[in-house]
Subunit: 346 residues, 2 copies
Amino acid sequence: MFENKSKSSIESLGEFKLIHHLTDSFETNQKNTVVGIGDDAAVLDSGEYFTLVTNDLLIEGVHFDFSYSPFKHLGYKAVAVNVSDIVAMNGVATQILVSVGLSSKISLEAIEEFYMGVKAACEKYNIDLVGGDTSSSRSGMFVSVTAIGKVQKDKLVRRKGAKVGDLVCVSGDLGAAYTGYQLLEREKRIFLENPSVQPDLEGNDYILQRQLKPEARVDIVEILDEINVLPTAMIDISDGLSSELFHLAEHSEVGFRIYEDKLPIDPTAFQTARDLGLDPTICALNGGEDYELLFTVSQLDYDKIKSNLDITVVGYCTEKIEGVQMVSRNENLYPLEAQGWTSFKG
Amino acid sequence: MFENKSKSSIESLGEFKLIHHLTDSFETNQKNTVVGIGDDAAVLDSGEYFTLVTNDLLIEGVHFDFSYSPFKHLGYKAVAVNVSDIVAMNGVATQILVSVGLSSKISLEAIEEFYMGVKAACEKYNIDLVGGDTSSSRSGMFVSVTAIGKVQKDKLVRRKGAKVGDLVCVSGDLGAAYTGYQLLEREKRIFLENPSVQPDLEGNDYILQRQLKPEARVDIVEILDEINVLPTAMIDISDGLSSELFHLAEHSEVGFRIYEDKLPIDPTAFQTARDLGLDPTICALNGGEDYELLFTVSQLDYDKIKSNLDITVVGYCTEKIEGVQMVSRNENLYPLEAQGWTSFKG
């Protein structure tokens, strides 16, 4: 009943342009809709505060692989990545709904493990599981999580709001989740070729944990509140620093200049990238799944954040016309790309 | 990494017991969580009113079949069935988030059609699309919709609250969606056996529409409000009247006695069921997907509802110990079953 003649059109559009293309003609009419599609979460006016709502999908074979992703970790991660979207609006997550599609291959013990992970994350982030749906799936497992949160009206931070001259900050470190993923993929290939070989993952706990059990940076939002710094714009790093910089640039109508030598890269991630023949900078820029926060602050706030070891200033906001650029270690200026870094390496 | 030794355990538990089994140990700690898992929607305290949140999955090969379900209808239905859950709490839907997993078989035109259906439903129900996620899927399409709504605090209606002696009411008619589904399945089989035969669907617009493009009964909630009737308990009929009666019975701790000759069955649905060799009563009891409302009202409200052609009193609430029973046309009393009707036919 349908043909795939336009399959290539979907692929060429990419996820973000596809959503924009499909939802561009929708209007919002409810008076309590403050922010609709296009930020980390929707924002609804609940009188005394704003309610935040977000939904993300995790799909077997696309976002996770049961060859190395334990069910409990998957449950935890499904919650954490949605909490991260609430955090990216400077909010506090309060409730989640978890829906799962289950293939017939999945055992009751496996799904129990999954919910143990969901529960561990609910306890960690102090959120209530309040709903969801469970259904059989023809093939593969998938998870749909809706997270609900709240934020004081004067504390909402969006993707728009960054001003020329603002400092660009990143929490934690970047690239570890991607190098962890590459390591797991390598061991999976070795295992498939020779099942008697045991995986060699020793000493890589940190980067494996970053891939399999990421955390939402609730602590960063709390710290910023304590030191009285309200970011001018913010987004969580799910698709890689480069891609998220482009989102902030588009929404805030600014450019960015970041410095390669400022990028926070964990030593294990750096060495593993090198061992795997990858450029650590590319892993940090495009790896994704770090779920760190990328935010901009006024230069006036520099003294308040400079001593915090978990926040790194990686650059500053420029005029929109300058685009998103990186100053390399050898002090050349390269344009970044949202989906890759090809021009930089060319 | 996982085995399917307990596959049968999941199947034997069934969807409702599975969710209960998996989430039983979860606690709610947020002070604005009013109702968590177990009703048609979660209820959150938003100060002046209650916020309602619900999430449902629709999965290709389980909930829909592209052999006969047009993409536009699917988009409409995905929204309508979630609005129906908000309506079942006596609420008004205000926003939705729509997430889709797309297999590589699906064309851009098809997904555009799907969103046209979503848009038509948003306009029909006056709700804003405020978010969602789009991802590739390894096989098949699935849809996850989160609906958000609100209800005045003194107007919330739950699954619990029905009292012995209350009247049991059903909106609209029952069984049409299921007979529509059976008709489409028959024509699909004939088409697969002989592709030159054109489907014979003439004169069946109503029951086909009930299956392919159901509506949420927003109008019933409005009417009840106008005539000043607050149901004592309510649920929407997604899995069949029988199954929903058991949910109300469990939550309200009552029994039910309903009358076969009172069941509202559309004449086309009745005749089609007969033509297909099905018992129309079974279609009405167990067919499901009618998305009508099942609710209980005080006997004192009978005069207010008796003249409404779209509301049928089908029985009354009994003591819990009597269970869920039906008085047949020949005036015998049979116990109903949640998932089927085998004992009645035995």
